[in-house]
């Protein structure tokens, strides 16, 4: 009998313990507080499933479930259809300005989705600029409102989630596998369908999963574009904080169902991927294919078209921010008054956004990278459990988590409400899955014998982690940091519940201004956010280019 913990497992186990402590305190505990309401009766005393029976018995909410899943599925499919050819073209075809395209592709993540939706309505709504221009040419088109419009907006904003991993997978395909297929008499086209695509399918599905979960959780887009189609995340939000009928038990039910749906999808994906791990030992990226001029032009046009189309709401917001607003009403004259009004009030929101995004991105890295280490290096049920718990925030809407925090940390031994730390913590928890995912992908590629070499030379596992693993992961950690930073800077759903007093952020300013008809200030704030996030995006662009040159 050995009771002592094997010493080579002590570090991973210690990290796992810290990870469980962090996630237990700042994820599971707040969620428990929110959802315990869903299984309690009206007086909050007896355990009951009546709330579930009631909600699921109502056609309205069943309709919401069906709508949400259908839209999510449709958006996932269209996103894959758009992004996979794009990924292939960027990985394997001669397309001019690749690094720029890749950097621009991350831009849609910068704008909070409700701002994108606002811009889309101004452009493509019934009275939209583009709609009217097209109508003057006699071209009418269906409404931007409803399922079609939502799917369109999702496709244009979420395609980077599929593009980035799929592109990496196309680059990691061992070219000798393709050559083998062709030497066996397979045409290049058939090789693509029968050899290359099956190899990258896990990457496509991983990206598609992110898109699907985003659509389940997203609230800004359907809030504006769904009109009166019931959508799950919106109904959950209304039940949690609705002006007239905050109903914690019903809201808890919807929150639990939302988590159940996402967890189910995650589990299916894991099952599927577990039986389909195609490791190919590619030493170098496969070469750029030689293709005819026609295909080259078509590929280039396609790539640039998708990227630029996705940026249209973006351009629209920037242009609008330089126009005159009288109250909420837009007048087509150039003006800097919006910016003057924005900064006359205070620079604080901008500084807060920068501060929070930076601190939270650091937090995400400090929590996510060690957890990824445990998940990849410790082979035990504990590691799988930690992986599942660290993936859970994917499935939790920002509003739900934020309310859990307020309920949990407003009194007692740990008081966080009213300060900025609570926001940093919520951001950190929400983005941890991204860091865990991206870091474990890198760790899988680092040969464990490097760690053993370091340990055999006298460095403890902890020192080895700091001196060997971290430097080797640095590139990946850095690009993950930038993406995290950008998505935190545009976070709204949790922020709007948590911020207080002087700690409001740029997205809060946008939201409040749009609510109050201050379209000018909202677009000015959005433009400022765009400009500010351009800095890290440019860094990412440089990083990508260096990576391109290195491989």
């Amino acid at each position: 009998m050995r009771l002592a913990i094997p010493h080579q497992q002590r570090l991973p186990l210690a990290i796992a313990a810290l990870g469980f402590l962090f996630l237990g305190l700042f994820l599971l505990y707040p969620l428990f507080n929110v959802f315990s309401a869903s299984v309690l009766d009206g007086e909050g005393e007896k355990f009951t499933f009546a709330n579930y029976v009631k909600i699921l018995g109502r056609p309205f909410y069943r309709g919401a479930v069906v709508n949400t899943l259908a839209i999510g599925l449709a958006a996932t499919i269209t996103t894959i259809l758009v992004a996979v050819p794009l990924a292939f073209a960027l990985a394997r075809l001669p397309v001019p300005g690749k690094a720029a395209i890749i950097a621009l592709a991350a831009m849609p993540l910068v704008l909070p989705s409700f701002v994108s939706a606002y811009a889309i309505v101004l452009l493509l709504g019934r009275a939209g600029v583009v709609t009217q221009w097209l109508q003057s040419w006699g071209i009418g088109f269906g409404s931007i409102y409803g399922a079609g419009g939502i799917v369109l907006v999702y496709t244009l904003t979420l395609y980077p989630y599929v593009l980035l991993p799929t592109m990496a997978a196309f680059k990691a395909v061992d070219v000798s596998v393709e050559e083998a297929a062709q030497s066996l008499g397979s045409s290049p086209r058939r090789t693509l369908w029968t050899v290359t695509l099956p190899i990258v399918i896990p990457a496509i599905l991983a990206g598609g999963l992110l898109v699907f979960i985003e659509t389940l959780e997203n609230f800004g887009v359907p809030f504006v574009l769904a009109e009166d189609m019931p959508i799950f995340a919106v109904e959950a939000f209304k039940l949690f904080v609705g002006e007239t009928a905050p109903n914690p038990s019903s809201a808890g039910v919807l929150g639990v169902l939302l988590i159940a749906m996402t967890s189910l999808v995650l589990l299916i994906q894991r099952r599927f991927l577990a039986s389909r791990r195609f490791a190919t030992g590619a030493r170098a990226a496969p070469p750029i294919l030689r293709v005819g001029l026609g295909l080259r032009v078509a590929a280039s046009v396609y790539c640039w078209l998708v990227v630029l189309l996705a940026l249209v709401p973006f351009f629209a917001i920037v242009v609008l921010s330089f126009m005159e607003f009288r109250g909420p009403v837009l007048h087509p004259n150039f003006s800097l008054a919006n910016f003057a009004a924005l900064f006359e009030r205070s620079m604080r929101p901008l500084l807060n956004t920068l501060l929070f995004a930076t601190l939270a991105a650091i937090g995400v890295t400090l929590v996510g990278v060690p957890i990824a280490y445990v998940v990849t290096r410790l082979r035990s049920g504990l590691a799988s459990l930690l992986d599942v718990v660290a993936t859970l925030p994917f499935a939790v809407a920002g509003t739900v988590l934020a309310i859990g925090f307020v309920v949990s940390f407003n009194s007692g031994w740990l008081i966080l409400t009213g300060g900025p730390l609570i926001m940093v913590l919520v951001y950190t928890v929400r983005k941890v899955p991204f860091a865990v995912r991206s870091s474990s992908a890198i760790l899988h590629q680092i040969d464990p014998s490097l760690e053993e070499a370091s340990i055999s030379l006298g460095r403890s596992p902890l020192q080895t982690f700091g001196r060997i693993l971290v430097p080797l992961m640095l590139g990946g950690i850095l690009s993950g940091f930038v993406l995290t930073w950008v998505t935190i800077a545009s976070e709204l759903s949790a922020t709007v519940v948590l911020y207080s007093g002087q700690w409001r952020t740029l997205t809060v300013v946008m939201f409040q201004a749009l609510e109050g008809g201050g379209g000018g200030i909202a677009t000015a704030a959005a433009s400022t956010l765009i400009i500010v996030t351009l800095v890290p995006i440019t860094l990412l662009y440089r990083l990508v280019r260096r990576y391109e040159l290195a491989t």
Binding site: A4, P6, L450, A453, I455, S456, L457, G458
Partner: protein, 330 residues
Amino acid sequence: MTGIVIAGATRTFGTVRAVDGVDLAVGDGEFFTLLGPSGCGKTTLLRMIAGFCELDAGEIKFGDRRIDRLPAHTRDIGMVFQNYAVFPNLTVAGNVAYGLKARRVSGAELARRVEEALGLVQLAGYGERWPHQLSGGQLQRVAIARALVIRPQVLLFDEPLSNLDARLRVSMRSEIRDLQKSLGITAIYVTHDQEEAMSVSDRIALMQSGRLEQVGPPAEIYRNPTSRFAAEFMGTTNLVEARALGGDRAGLVSLRPEALRLAADAPADWPQVGGKVAHVEVLGPITRFDVRLADGSLLKVATLDAPHLTPAPGAEVTLAYDPARITVLP
């Protein structure tokens, strides 16, 4: 300098006994090789010594000090890995200095010892290079220098040459042997290549299915294998029924190809056996040929190149063998 004592070392993965009650004593300064086919447990045993694999039972001592419960980084070993495991984020000098810095060596002492170690592996002046600028052989030299420079109690080699080409393998193995002998550090070397094992080792432990099959100096295991497995794994051999050679006892014997000659070329008192040549290979210094005996079994024969004695396929020949070199297997 340290001897290593392993007693009852056992490790199970699932239902597989990877290492099954191994007892072993390695002498101070000895070059000791763990030899066996893949999956025999040799690497697991090496990783137990290094501290990367827990023992389910048993113990390991360096000298009088029991080390199997110590964390790997405190065991004071130098390890050379199959895939080099040279840190890509450090220069050659940085790699070599890595273990010294962990031992708080610094300044001039550090520089001197790094340079000295690089000199030992014939990489003097390569300190500022980056790993991606080096060839496989050079990388393995860096790995060796990195393990030597800390003057460990024990050197561990995990199939260090298997990624190199054949010619480099031969020259590197004698270099490794010479370095180990000149420094006098106890070394444990893992390989699946019996020729490599024989060329470098003071003693070899032949392993199969997690157990020690036979332990001894290379020549002894070659000449006096105690089992059919040992006889077959160490080089080529003929396993034949004693009766087929004209003996009167039943049982299996091992007869090395080089113990057989054409009767015309052999001492007169060697026993003889007749057969028909099935296949001939002239390999330069030696010639191999197979002879089918009357009972249908095949004898492999190896002789020094002798043009006038080389038989033609299909010819009837008479072979003679050295009776002293017959090993009776249990």
